[in-house]
Amino acid sequence: MTTEIEELYQEVILDHSRRPRNFGELADAAVRVHGDNPACGDEIHLDVKFDTSGALEDIKFTGHGCAISQASASLMTMKLKGKSRAEVVEMLCAFHDLVTEETSEAPKTLGDLRVMKGVRKFPQRVKCAMLAWRAVEQALEQGAGEATVSTEPA
């Protein structure tokens, strides 16, 4: 077993892809974002509910796709529940750096999400890892209703 592949598919990632957390729909979601990665056929549907301060009160997803996209969505929802908008944006940037920047030290604030670090060695898989995050970014922008987002901007 080579190390790069083990680093990419850490046990935590495989576990989340097999048994995704926060998997399902939110009946009272404020916003629902359909995200797709047309190059791979990965799909996620993200439901978000905000509290009065605008923080993410609840967040769930459904969808299908590769282990990376599904585990990333699962880990993300666990991390973002209860976070303020500013914290979400900060984490989005940190996560993007984590999976793209060869040199960046993984900041502690990312917690469990740091297991996704192996993706940086697989540039073709960055879109898979980012799909859920693009959806949450869109959810913040949109605030209410339904939206779509794609890793391949038209």
């Binding site: 592949i5 598919y9 791979c40 056929g41």
Partner: protein, 412 residues
């Protein structure tokens, strides 16, 4: 054509003609199972390109100097070679393009633009590569023509029982693939062309997956247009072919405007050359055409019948062995298939599988293979595809099965 049985060919020696097959990937010997995307190149083709650039390079049809004559001669000789290879009546029926995609776009724009009217129908199939679908969608948008599709059965073959209700006198062109790049299905080209002609329609064959893989003669097939790419048949990238029946090509207006394709140009209006030069505006891929002719020589030396026998044995063997793996669904016809096999495994998504396999030196393709409607038809977002050519071996397939077993253990 000289027919040799696959068993009498020294495939090991042939494999040694491909320098790249000695490469390693992630510390493992490369197993290249992505020839349907692009084939590898034998040394003799690489050397033909080098020889051209070292001894013959000049622009074609322009200069009166020695090198220009050499380049022009080599380029036009390549056209003749292609004509012979596919049984065209004359080299004038061979238009050099960048590849299958451009060949089909050329027909859609030049022929379609002139002959297609609102309400006309272009008949396609559900298994077309996007390059034999999108150009027709664009044409339909421009002209008000309609598209109709021959459905694909669960076993991966075309549902020809539907043909009578689809192929009617409103159909002006029936465009279909010879071999499906996802399913491996080999379509009955001659029969389909005959049916098209019976209702007064023309036929276009996408031969991207077949031109380098089996014997073919356009006069036996009876097609009006045939498109293929050099890079999938041991040739360089950037060169492809559109075969068009002479009278049809002559009836078509130019595709692109520019140098090389004109007889005379005044400021307001130009007179255009005859086919095929009318369709080759600008400096063509001269080295590409010469490389393609070298690839054709090489393929013919082995023999297309032997190649087909070898590759389809590999593909059938791979399809059989894949069924050993629990939770694996293999697509395409069982009995006869082209040199590829598409499959999905419960244990892992195609992208996880191909990433995993790559770590062991095994190059496969995962995804929709430019066949999104077909993937939808089969209820999957993508498949993993192992595609073969005559340099691949049974041992490599055995290794693939081992790697896939390891993937199942890893991901389950």
């Amino acid at each position: 054509m000289h027919r040799i049985a696959a068993s009498s060919v020294d495939w090991k020696a042939i494999r040694a003609d491909f320098p790249i097959l000695r490469e390693q990937a992630h510390g493992h010997p490369l197993i290249y199972f992505d020839s349907a995307a692009t084939s590898q190149k034998p040394r003799i083709v690489i050397e033909a390109l080098r020889n051209f650039y070292e001894h013959e390079n000049a622009n074609v049809h322009r200069g009166l100097h020695t090198l220009s004559s050499r380049a022009t001669e080599a380029y036009e000789k390549s056209r003749k070679r292609v004509a012979e290879y596919i049984g065209a009546a004359s080299a004038d029926e061979i238009v050099f393009t960048r590849g299958t995609t451009e060949s089909i776009n050329l027909v859609a724009q030049a022929w379609g633009g002139k002959f297609i009217r609102e309400g006309d129908v272009i008949l396609l199939t559900e298994m077309e590569h996007h390059s034999n679908l999108v150009p027709w969608q664009l044409l339909a948008e421009r002209t008000g023509a309609r598209l109709r599709f021959v459905p694909v059965r669960d076993n991966g073959t075309l549902d020809l029982d539907q043909l009578p209700s689809l192929l009617k006198s409103d159909v002006k062109l029936f465009a279909f693939t010879h071999i499906s790049n996802s399913l491996g299905t080999i379509n009955p080209v001659a029969q389909l062309c005959e049916k098209a002609h019976a209702v007064g329609a023309l036929s276009l064959v996408d031969a991207a997956q077949s031109a380098g893989h089996l014997p073919m003669d356009v006069r036996v097939l009876g097609c009006d247009f045939l498109a293929f790419s050099g890079h999938k048949m041991c040739g360089p990238t950037g060169i492809g072919v559109l075969y068009g029946r002479a009278d049809i090509l002559d009836s078509m207006p130019p595709y692109h405007g520019g140098g090389e394709m004109i007889v005379s140009v005044a400021l307001e209006k130009s007179a255009f050359k005859k086919a095929p030069h009318r369709f080759e505006a600008g400096t063509p891929s001269i080295a590409g055409a010469i490389g393609l002719a070298a690839a054709i020589d090489y393929i013919e030396q082995i023999g297309r019948a032997a190649i087909f026998e070898h590759d389809s044995q590999l593909a059938r063997y791979a399809a059989d062995r894949l069924t050993e793996l629990a939770g694996t669904r293999v697509f395409g016809p069982k009995e006869e298939r082209g040199a590829l096999v598409g499959f999905v495994m419960d244990a892992a998504h195609p992208h996880d599988l191909t990433t995993f396999a790559d770590q062991y030196g095994l190059a496969m393709r995962g995804g929709h293979h430019c066949n999104q409607p077909l993937m939808r038809r089969f209820g999957v977002s993508g498949t993993t595809r192992a595609s073969f050519y005559f340099y691949n071996t049974v041992e490599e397939i055995d290794r693939m099965i081992e790697i896939l077993h390891a993937a199942v253990r890893f991901f389950s």
